[in-house]
Symmetry: D2
Subunit: 290 residues, 4 copies
């Protein structure tokens, strides 16, 4: 397929690479041009304007946040100018409000739009091992399946309105935050009574909490992973997306409210650029543990 790809950040560049390797034709665009350059030698065309990336069957956007989507896709008028033959496949994590706004824009201009945010860190993207959540019109999803297959190990169709995928992604990332916070509190509680963290983690992940999220974040909290692959300050952003969606749709989330403030305290005390798992380190420190 001929694909446009906009947004070559940590995640986007791995995903674009996968698509090239899978044999798709790619025209890539990134706001700071340097990130696009390496793709030239791999056979991709480089677009100097985002508009050029619309010359494709599907244009994938993987922009950092609402502001980037707004700048590159909305304020620029790209959404309106996209031909009705193209599908816009937005794979970034955006707010529920932005998800609805994009859907409305495309509906108004008669163009096709899917939302398909992903679960997974860059190394999973590099191996095509993402979990993808997709929502929107069935025919468009069918059309995009080769893309989903190249990028993910599985995908989930979660609804017929694109914003359904946004809210699923937001809610699931919020659950990750609750796992990190709750593990942090449970580690602090057990450690302060003399229980080895490794022992505690093994006990819970051998029983009812036998899940990757507990194993991975538990391990990262224990090992104080020095190389952050997803910084805590972006974790705050994820929790804020949940709270913002909760506010917009009138869903009280008291636990989310508290978790947000824990992130802020951690950031105020210097953990913002550490891995998200460092929330556990902050919690231990707040309990007076070293």
């Amino acid at each position: 397929m001929n694909l446009g790809f906009i947004g070559l950040g940590q995640m986007g560049r791995e995903m674009a690479g996968r698509l090239l390797d899978a044999g798709h034709g790619l025209i890539v665009y990134n706001r700071s041009a340097g990130a696009a350059e390496p793709f030239r030698s791999r056979g991709a065309r480089i677009a100097s304007q985002p508009e050029a990336a619309l010359d494709a069957q599907v244009v994938i956007t993987m922009l950092a946040d609402d502001a980037a989507v707004d700048a590159v896709w909305v304020a620029s008028g790209l959404a309106e100018r996209m031909p009705s033959t193209v599908i816009h496949l937005n794979m970034a994590t955006v707010s529920l409000a932005m998800g609805k706004r994009l859907a409305a824009l495309h509906r108004k201009s008669g163009s096709r739009y899917l939302s398909a945010p992903v679960f997974g860190r860059p190394y999973a993207a590099a191996k095509g091992q993402l979990d993808i959540v997709v929502a929107g019109e069935e025919g468009a999803i069918e059309h995009c399946k080769p893309i989903l297959a190249a990028l993910g190990r599985q995908h989930f169709v979660v609804g017929s309105e694109p914003h359904h995928a946004n809210i699923v992604k937001i809610a699931r990332n919020y659950l990750l935050a609750t796992i990190i916070e709750s593990l942090g509190e449970a580690f602090a509680l057990t450690r302060k009574s003399g229980v080895d963290a490794e022992t505690f983690l093994n006990t819970i992940t051998s029983t009812a909490m036998n899940a990757p999220a507990y194993k991975n974040y538990g391990r990262m909290i224990i090992e104080k992973t020095p190389q952050p692959t997803f910084p805590l300050k972006l974790g705050l952003k994820d929790v804020e997306l949940a709270l913002e969606a909760g506010s917009d749709t009138r869903v009280p989330m008291p636990m989310a409210g508290v978790i947000r403030e824990q992130h802020l305290a951690a950031i105020a005390q210097g953990y913002g650029d550490h891995d998200w798992a460092a929330l556990g380190e902050y919690i231990a420190a707040s309990a007076g543990l070293k």
Copy 2:
């Protein structure tokens, strides 16, 4: 082995039955005598006084809460009068403070004491499928292994001080509470944007939250299980054990503080005798969902 067994509540009676089936000699005691009677025909002796249950190699206690332990075991002076040849194997969930108090009492009177609380509901107890957390002196644990084998599918030695097992049990039950609350919030958030709960649950339990706790509680929240096997008001007790331990050992647990109040609101609004999973129903109602 000749075993004493004190406390034939919902859990205790299933566990005592398993031990009989495994061929152990049993002398059982329960404060209200009716619960003990059915064990007579299965070959157990019935003790009319708890003291009689001490005539054994190991005496297992499975009492409902701190107050019951205090009445039957502490205030009665049983702890002091237990012969030093007997091991007290306390399998109930008690507070960290009570766990330490029992250990101190036995240490003082020179008798042997292990703490070994269990994970699992009555139907798991009936099938010998409990997960058991045990802590205390190594030789005593070795001695009790046939008991652990008859009752559990696995056991975890979590420390050399009996209270280590209490705090692990308390922290793990607290994690269950965080899972129910977070699922409740995530379901409310996604449902209010039009996503089917089943679809959301399938997505998260096929990815990073692929764990029994998410699957089971997720299902119970969706199906509004009418028959409670563990009522919400006991869930509150578990969260309060975590908060009490946190207060005693100076471990701030802001998320636990909020979850406790969610339980109280649910109870004040009539969900106290529903299953613990009904917390999800309360959260949906608080978001204005039917």
Copy 3:
């Protein structure tokens, strides 16, 4: 003085009226023209474009929220086109971010800008009994004193940077929210044990909580004031301004996090258009009280 006045909502129209009564020349502008009309017969000029309101020594803006300020003052380019002889006196409650943005815009275009949000409901505005918090350059404040005197019973200079006034206003409104929430919880707690709310309120406001906020909100909670003068959903907006400022400046506010969710639950359950004091009614209901 010749004054421009932009924004004739519930508060703005009372304030504009006071300024006319005090003998100032007024040119008024409102986005929906109907609100401006009544001022014609009182001697004001009506501006059909906001730009016309710049023909004054001081132009006062009293717009509803960030979005309104953005539309009328920022996106319209008014900020840049304002002559350097004019002072922009922004008396509305805006976010800390918007407060800083306005200051930066005016600094860049070399024009004069003060922030002067007010405490008080419309009936206080009508009587010139507002409390005004002002921040910015000293000379400009001096120049505006006749305006502050006409509108307020007192004013407080809280800093030399305009955004100082924004954050004081935001923090103080947050304190109001904490008072309503805490009174709601305390009323529920005492009522459920049989204590008359009136008796409790009298006790605390005759002692350490002898302050207008406790007296007024306490009374409104007890009397379930049917006519809202400040709706609960705007209370939510105020709490969100505090949380947003906290997030932007990295100040954890765990209590604010919880209060926000209480507002959302109250709104989801139908109290959004009731007076802010109805938060107390929601809390009583959540405790199972009628």
Copy 4:
């Protein structure tokens, strides 16, 4: 009047002194006898057993907490042995559960009991400037008025059941905790944006928060009062009394839940023996302020 007085701690000794100065006959008892001795020269009799203090018209107890009340008054059987001619005037802060238990004990043994906890720190007690909250049978209150007059500047009859006074005291102390926490958050928020704390405090206490609690705690937070007159760890006890009462009577108090954890974090980080106002210092530190 001939009065018994049990409990000569920081508050009790000042109150006993006031009663002597007012001309009442006093027989005093304290568990550690040293505290009673100084009263001998002032004309009081010293009881070597608490029982001796019952030889009076009214016996006042001012014991530190539930455990002390339990030991001295309940477990000792004093409550049952008190003659029906005596009134037990309990002026200490105890839990709602203990308040009800004492009332039930006295009702059962046919003796007279009032609950009358006080607001105020030791220096207010020394000057007879306490605020007293009293509840119970009208005739008994009438009888005790000379005592209330000697100790307090005012008293409030808050109900006909003694525990009404307990819950009012608990709720009001909880309100103090909300004031300290909210001031701490508001100071941190404004300071981090460059506003002087003194300026902020003056603004709010000159307007809607013009109350002693805001003035006094605001000042103590700013001045980091080195000499604690009421340590933060006792503040935690007060918040826990509110939460315990909330749990017992099924009143959700989400804000209280969060405030408790803030106290624990402050204690874990070394502020436990500082004045209660040091909660504000902890909050500033958690925001990264010096």
